[in-house]
Symmetry: C2
Subunit: 440 residues, 2 copies
């Protein structure tokens, strides 16, 4: 069965409306999920471990009648190391290369943010101090969607930032542990692993229990319950962005092997039916060749059903006037992943203002970045690259302003502050500044 | 009437529970407000300017039967400049000094974040690019709580970041414009001012209308309707933190004039009844002197009713064992404003991990920082300094990862990525990496 992927032309009437409709993704909120999550969180906040244990035994169907206490749900750190040691050699080596490259990139990120201070002529010192968070929680999904690469991408930036405690929660449905996930935790510097999941794990991390200290921030992907719980605890703790469906946008000049581009579209589409894969290209003949590649390669893919649905429902091959127009459209899409698959990619990259990550040149497939180039694979989705950034070391640090006003500084600044404070009707502010001014 | 401010002792039984209870602040959500805001936002999204006009005429009680169209609610930029020119000279000079100092500090912030890239031995280039947001909205409250300093603090970082369009919305209840706010907008590089407010203004900025282009991020303080609207549009646009009540924590070694400390506590307490002002000090005699100052100075304050309620309900003077314990407690409080009012402040500052802004030494009153030192006065409240930062240039910039994989790089990275992708069951990812590997 030939796949009917949408073909659009930027010169056609109504193109902008068609594209907007294709990009539109309204996250539905499910009242049943919202209600269940609110109840679980309130229960965990009130009853602590007793609630966590009940929900875990029930939802994760733990064997042998369930766990007897939350304490036994802690995995000894030795078990993480054992999981790493037990991996097939090739897998272990790949995981180690990935972890090391991710660490190198994020250490470079850390070096950029060192804080600063400067001293003014009158001795007043102003500055900004950077400090790591004390304790963070990393949520890792259990079951089939358990991704060791995600453990590396979430935990290593925290470790590089200098976070003291990195607490990973991962449910073990039916008691099954994913050994590659545990091995990744060993490599990524996770300091504690608790085999709990769902809204109850988010609640335990946010509020703390008798045996689980409350964290300062929770990151990592999860299902609709986890996403809802993270939204609800935001403010009590920090959270990362709630991710929408994953997206790839390929801007192609028509010089890349069309099989490569087709497979890159598949690699996004295979994530799930809602994933979005779009190509922009000025060459109509090339677009036809990519379509031919898609239809020839699709039957060879184990996840072809997911790919077919994703590409049919949300994919598109778009004929554009030229590469400059492709870049303008790419800016309006602000894609999570942007491949510029072109012979001379830099000239087009210079025209891009909004993208989570840019993959430049035909050898830079998104899949390389997903696993092991070094930059983070947690990226802003759903056009949020207009205003937000990849997950990074900076997400595990915060800034404090430093103000040391000298006696001389207080004389001049005090008059300015008092003038403005009186103007705003805040007399105690004004008096507080004036008290520091010496009578002449 | 003597003010009964709470006096606590860190050595007393149950101190931690008492302090936790004092710090606790549960933001109530009002179902009536939530419902009204949801309706207004949906209406603005659907009907655009027509809805914005109706709500503005109704809620802001505009004179002469209200505005005839949204277009007339735009303030000409010349009017901002005229407001600046018409200010009393002392006020204008103070505003200019403040704007200039805020700009200098934030330019230093911008210099810290330059992005980076590095080239590996095989020619692979990895990096991070920093770009400003295209368009931001600054919400400025109207009426009595209209603060020109807030215009400077929100707009100047955006301007320094290089944001192209800075759109300020400010309601004009009963048609009254605050001239000092307009003057501040002129100084802060605001590119457009629209005299609308409330949830309808947030909706117009987030979704755009026929004549108002949608922005990428909305910052600035507002009432409960505005806060609710910002929360609801988050995701469509970025937002800053939703601020809780303002807080000051003063760690004092007992060597500062007690009148100064009392006035610093007032300067926080005068903001509103929910503001929180706490002092930690190891010297019981000094605490008594501060209390005496409070009671002597309070009757002289125009906003004494607000101060009295705030200090009675949420304030405290806490006797601690020593300054080291004061620092430990300060870390657990993670205050928005932390004054270290001491003869040798640096040694104590070195022990602080969590604070929005630190004011070091007895001349560094919070009020100086609120107006004109240079660092931002928009700071994390309600213990969120554990994981978040002052408003800054970085809030108007975002990062994009850059990945340029060389042909040689694709050979080695491709094998690593494929190994891990197969391990995660994502075969298209693996194939996409393998296609770039040359057959030997």
């Amino acid at each position: 069965m030939t796949l009917q992927i949408r073909k659009l032309d930027s010169s056609a009437a109504g193109f902008k409306q068609t594209l907007d409709a294709l990009l539109a993704f309204e996250e539905s909120t499910d009242d049943a999920i919202e209600g269940a999550v609110a109840k679980i969180l309130a229960d965990v906040k009130k009853r602590g471990n007793a609630a966590v244990l009940e929900y875990t035994n029930r939802f994760d169907r733990l064997p042998n009648g369930g766990a007897a206490s939350v304490d036994v749900l802690d995995l000894p750190v030795a078990e993480l190391r054992a999981a790493l040691d037990a991996l097939p050699q090739a897998q272990r080596a790949a995981l180690e290369v990935a972890a090391e490259r991710i660490r190198v990139f994020h250490e470079r990120q850390k070096r950029e943010l060192q804080g600063f201070s400067y001293t003014e002529a009158d001795g007043t010192v102003l500055g900004q101090r950077i400090t790591p968070l004390d304790r963070v929680g990393i949520y890792v999904p259990g079951g089939k969607a358990a991704y060791p690469s995600s453990v590396l991408m979430n935990a290593i930036p925290a470790q590089v930032a200098g976070v003291g405690e990195i607490v990973m929660v991962v449910p073990t449905p039916d008691g099954v542990k994913n050994q590659m996930v545990l091995a990744a935790a060993a490599l990524a510097g996770v300091t504690r692993v608790i085999t709990i999941g769902g809204a109850q794990a988010v609640g335990a991390l946010a509020y703390g229990t008798e045996t689980i200290a409350a964290v300062d921030k929770i990151v990592g992907p999860g299902n609709a319950y986890v996403a809802s719980a993270k939204r609800r605890v935001f403010g009590t703790v920090g959270i990362d962005m709630i991710a929408g469906p994953s997206e790839i946008l390929i801007v192609c000049d028509g010089t890349t092997d069309p099989d490569w581009v087709a497979m890159d579209l598949f690699s996004q589409a295979e994530h799930d039916e809602l994933a979005q894969a779009i190509m922009l290209c000025p060459d109509a003949d090339y677009i036809a060749r990519v379509e031919e590649s898609i239809n020839r390669l699709l039957p060879t893919m184990p996840r072809q059903d997911v790919i077919r649905t994703s590409l049919t429902d949300r994919g598109a091959l778009v004929k554009v006037r030229d590469m400059a127009e492709a870049c303008a459209i790419a800016n309006s899409i602000a894609a999570e992943h942007l491949e510029i698959s072109a012979a001379e990619p830099q000239q087009w990259a210079d025209q891009i203002r909004h993208a989570g990550a840019m993959f430049l040149g035909r050898f830079s497939s998104e899949s390389l970045g997903d696993y092991c180039c070094g930059p983070n694979h947690v990226l802003p989705t759903s056009r949020t690259a207009r205003f937000s950034s990849p997950l990074g070391v900076y997400d595990f640090q915060k800034r404090s302003s430093i103000l040391f006003v000298s006696e001389a500084g207080a004389q001049t600044l005090g008059k300015v502050a008092a003038e403005l404070a009186y103007g705003e009707g805040l007399q105690a502010h004004a008096r507080s500044a004036e008290l520091r001014i010496k009578a002449k």
